[in-house]
Amino acid sequence: MASQQGGSSQPSRPSRTSRPAGALQAWGWVPIALGTAAILAGLGVRKKGAMAVALTTVAGVTAAGAMRGGTSNRAAGRSGQGATLDREPEVERSITIGKTTDELRRSWLDPATVPRIMAGFATVRAAGDGRAHWTIHGPLGRSYEWESETLDDPPGDRVGWRSRPDASIPNEGSVRFRPAPPGRGTVATLRLRFTPPGGALGDAAVKLLGVTPLGAAADSVLRRFKSLVETGEIPTTERQPAARADTR
């Protein structure tokens, strides 16, 4: 997961045997208004496949039948604009980690952690005072940036964050830590929610955006977090030998 590039870096040779796009479809698509290529690239999907799927899904985006989690229309109401994408994509995913809830909470709040586990999804830079700067590289050279702030009100078993009010694509997330059965450690549950834009930005979305397997992104973030806290590193095949340009 070395590259944050939005799928527009060097063309990789098509693989005849791997079908990651098909694999991703099985997870249920969640349309959101940014970052398709960035996230898919982070998950190892070829640009061609990612874009083809993006276009297909944008055409029927409101179907969104596979979307999990919340389905309210507060996004459109809050923005006051007729949203092109009228759902709030939200996912919730869990993983079990062999550490205590306190250890996990401390690890998550370590400023070095979130940038590492979000890599492949977003470039995150700690901006001090509980704030973080997020960048997602979209297709066609577009990138999306926002600042988030840590919420100080959630109950003690969770950590929450929210984009600052000026974010073009409002989003929020939280992670909650609960004890697993004896000997099994802690269940970490990650919730991510992105509010798609409407109006002109929403129209642009038709060209630019598509879908993000947000659940897959959440799975990946949780796996990276688990590996980091259980072993001190995140498994990778970056920079390894192979007889091709993109060796990952």
Partner: protein, 390 residues
């Protein structure tokens, strides 16, 4: 460095690739002394297992000398002669701590590629064995990166030759685990389908664990001879008998073998209409597996016996579940948990009780890798294992 890589179905090549480097703090770089072919490689070489990419360096059974270590590596050091099990394992997760090493939670960099195959519970990564199983560069090369070197590199004692240690990487632990699954009791008869490296190791291991009799089933006279001479097995050439089931039943006084080990896998050969059926369906890609050996093992096993599956499978048709259920059988299977067995295997290698070096029937330079695989695949000249020395 030079490396043997997959360029497409039935297209292996040797080329120059960049050297591996230390990426994570628990990594080591191994200078490969010996590596060898495995029957499971044939599945992706022949195109039956997906998610290879052209240019992937292959090879998952190997030993060598540590060349460099990352800052967090404590237990092994440059210059150590070590053998490395085929699965990359972290040693920290729940699975590793329960000796289920090949199920490690933390070493698969691309779990989204494996989810459609296994339901979304990623297993340990493997060297040189498809991106669905981690996509780690393989060991048919001058150098290979070993993540979690402290858990995964085992020092080879003086007096254990490279050729012996080599097979403790995969063939020996796989076979040993397969025998361990059988929970062998005094008086037991264990039948083993397949006399390749894994099958021969399973036979020897069953003897070490106290089996009264071991019966080996194959069709190649050279391999059946090895089973008799090196593992003390009785043998059945399935092409020379009307019914393996009847022969096994008679050999066991009408009881059937107490345990049956499948050391063949998805490209099984056989005879008769069921084999023809599988062959056609596999050729048409309607099923990936020819399952003759596995089905026969189920049917041959005694009531209440154990089926131990070491062969690699994808999707199989016409699996005799009714026989397993009605005969009250126990089915055990896994990819090898080599790290759990390595101390015992090294001890057996030191005493000579387990000496797998005889599997190395053919030796090649790395440059001759494609030829080695061709001879291995077609069992030319009695080839059991092709061994490469970079």
């Amino acid at each position: 460095m030079r490396a043997l890589y997959w360029n497409g179905v039935n297209d292996l090549r040797v080329g120059t690739v960049k050297d591996p480097e230390i990426i994570n703090p628990h990594d080591a770089i191994l200078r490969v002394s010996l590596s060898t072919t495995c029957g499971s490689d044939l599945h992706f070489i022949d195109g039956y297992i997906p998610s290879m990419k052209p240019g992937d360096v292959i090879g998952h059974e190997f030993m060598g000398v540590i060349e460099d270590v990352g800052p967090e590596v404590k237990r092994v050091a440059k210059g150590d002669r070590v053998v490395v099990p085929s699965f990359v394992v972290c040693g920290q997760c729940w699975y590793c701590q329960h000796d289920l090493y090949s199920l490690c939670d933390n070493t698969h960099p691309k779990p989204e590629l494996q989810a459609p195959l296994l339901g979304g519970y990623p297993t340990a990564g493997i060297y040189g064995y498809t991106h669905a199983f981690g996509g780690y560069a393989g060991a048919h090369a001058q150098y290979v990166r070993i993540p979690f070197a402290d858990n995964d590199c085992f020092k080879v004692p003086d007096g254990v030759a490279d050729e012996t240690a080599l097979f403790l990487s995969d063939a020996a632990p796989t076979g040993y685990m397969g025998a361990d699954f059988c929970n062998i009791q005094p008086g037991d008869t264990v039948a083993v389908w397949g006399c390749g490296g894994v099958g021969l190791m399973a036979q020897q291991s069953a003897r070490l664990m106290g089996a009264e009799r071991v019966i080996a089933i194959d069709r190649f006279p050279d391999r059946l001879r090895m089973a008799r001479e090196h593992a003390g097995s009785e043998t059945i050439d399935y092409t020379q008998v009307d019914s393996v089931l009847e022969v096994l039943r008679e050999m066991t006084g009408g009881r059937g073998p107490d345990s049956c080990i499948d050391a063949v896998g998805m490209e099984a050969h056989g005879t008769g209409p069921q084999y023809a059926y599988d062959r056609v369906k596999q050729a048409l890609r309607l099923e990936t597996d020819r399952g003759q050996a596995l089905r026969e093992a189920v049917m041959a096993c005694r009531k209440g016996g154990t089926l131990s599956v070491l062969g690699v499978y994808g999707l199989i048709d016409k699996f005799p579940m009714g026989a397993i259920m009605n005969k009250g059988m126990t089915v055990r299977s896994a990819q090898q948990h080599g790290q759990a067995y390595m101390d015992r295997l090294l001890a057996h290698a030191q005493t000579g009780a387990l000496n797998p070096a005889y599997l190395a029937t053919h030796r090649f330079s790395l440059e001759e890798g494609p030829l080695g695989y061709d001879m291995f695949k077609h069992k030319t000249d009695g080839c059991v294992r092709a061994v490469f020395a970079p």
